[in-house]
Symmetry: C2
Subunit: 316 residues, 2 copies
């Protein structure tokens, strides 16, 4: 029988310090065209409860495994004491097709690989971080900040969220984790205080105006991952000196950059991929007053890499 | 943790007599448009070994589970003592998205549900079976005959295959299972002796000529399941009185019927679906001299139904 790992075992197996390199190598392979990643499979449910499922799968040529990730979101679960997001990953051997490991991560590895991508973007694009600004108060608002500790010693956080009770919970939880957290009354206050901003909301119109953003700011926008979602002022995207996408095609199609591209405010040819910045450090920030924006929509190579990372570290 | 079942446990849980009804209900739901079955996911490998993977997934509206099947074929495995075909099925709850059961069936359930479809086609289309003709000597050449015992008491088999050693193995194995097996020198001899013929080969040109087939014969053609594969003379398909597809769209696109449809030898409107015959018995054979052809390409609803069947019968 193949190995099967529970969420607890998976959490113990994760080593964030080596994971960041594994995921960086994944982005490089993706941007070099060394990955095979077919279109995402999708299932939607409207009864008895609304929900949807994404099936992502693929592999890096020449590596050991191919990976299938099945991730579900059933928002109504929350009211019944069941997590809304769930999922698992399956690793199979490239040489024989055999199933190697079942990772019952319940969606946690997706959260982690998403946050690690934010840390990678900051590593290659941000100036020395004075203060971390966060829009949103959910899982990514927390994990993105925690993963930034891999690339910056900054522990000062300025958070903004719509729901005051959730902001208060965020402040309490992150303070307990050793962060110095200040609550901002507006996104403008966040932008005034911070030179690194992570946007993690489900917003559908701009939250962050161009005029409010200081020169030298790096922004990682990861909330907009589907058509219709938007967090940044298209004028801010147009003003940015450096535009980076985890996947150029995805970001221009349904990420944050899609809005400014569709409005012809940016030349799509300006958009480079994160994997290019990782393999060529000369592409990064050129001065301390450039504005840089990383648009993260999530690519299957992150799943491939984190699943392989966990598999290799698991002690059964 | 979700339940996880090995191939042995799955084999013990299968109850073929109730499975046939479960799969019939699946075909009916499919033909009534009650299923949600997105396009099949596909991965191909060329190094280090050639192989491919199909990911089928979907659900029947209003039922308890949705199902994902991952099936791989790595032909080079055989030389290394590893099965060429492999796979697993995963059942998830429609109401919450939660994983219910992992069925490590190694591809066996695909073999069984494919053979059961042949028995269903015979049940609704064949005359009283005098003798069962089989083209091919592989897994389906065996299982199709075995599953026919659900719908006919006939135990007389006439087999034809290209490789004499494999024909001899077939004869030995099926004789041991209680069948009376005769080896035919040609497909013409099969057709002369039998009024039910199952074609299970990977042929890419017609094996069975129209002139050789007796009036009253029912043919289940299940070898042609991809572009380029073909087992029957298009003239035979054109001559048939009744044409049945498991999936009209699939069979006309890449099944046996695709060849005669493309050559405009049949009117696609003549092709009915197996689910229609199951729910309306008046559609079946009208006389003992009609020729009926069932083209089976495999539909995900069969996977959904067999996975649910096994899940419900498993005793953990």
């Amino acid at each position: 029988l193949p190995a099967i790992a529970s969420l607890d075992q998976i959490k113990r197996a994760l080593d964030i310090n080596t994971l960041i390199g594994d995921i960086e190598r994944g982005f490089v392979a993706y941007s070099r065209g060394e990955t095979v990643v077919p279109p995402v499979g999708y299932l939607a449910f409207d009864a008895p409860n609304a929900g949807d499922v994404h099936i992502k799968y693929g592999y890096i040529r020449g590596e050991e495994f191919w990976v299938v990730k099945i991730a579900s979101g059933f928002p109504g679960n929350a009211g019944r004491g069941i997590p809304a997001n769930n999922g698992l990953m399956l690793l199979f051997r490239q040489d024989t097709g055999e199933l190697a490991t079942i990772l019952l991560d319940e969606g946690h590895l997706t959260d982690v690989r998403t946050a690690v991508a934010g840390a990678i973007a900051a590593k290659f694009l941000a100036s020395k971080v004075e203060r971390i600004g966060v829009l949103g108060t959910g899982v990514q608002a927390r994990l993105q900040v925690q993963m930034l500790s891999l690339v910056s010693p900054c522990r000062d956080v300025v958070v903004w969220g719509r729901a005051t009770d959730r902001v208060a919970l965020y402040e309490r939880d992150m303070t307990a984790l050793g962060y110095y957290v200040r609550v901002a009354a507006s996104t403008r206050d966040v932008a005034a205080a911070c030179n690194l901003i992570v946007t993690t909301t489900a917003a559908r119109t701009s939250l962050l105006a161009s005029a409010d953003v200081r020169p030298g700011t790096h922004i990682t926008a990861m909330g907009a991952d589907a058509p219709g979602k938007q967090e940044l002022d298209p004028a801010l995207v147009a003003r940015a000196d450096v535009l980076v996408a985890d996947s150029r095609s995805q970001c221009l199609d349904h990420g944050e950059l899609a809005h400014s591209a569709r409005a012809k405010l940016i030349d799509p040819a300006r958009v480079r991929e994160l994997g290019e910045f990782i393999s060529d450090r000369s592409l990064g920030r050129r001065s301390s007053d450039q504005i840089t924006i990383a648009d993260l929509t999530g690519v299957a190579v992150q799943d491939i890499q984190i699943a392989t990372h966990v598999h290799r570290r698991l002690q059964y």
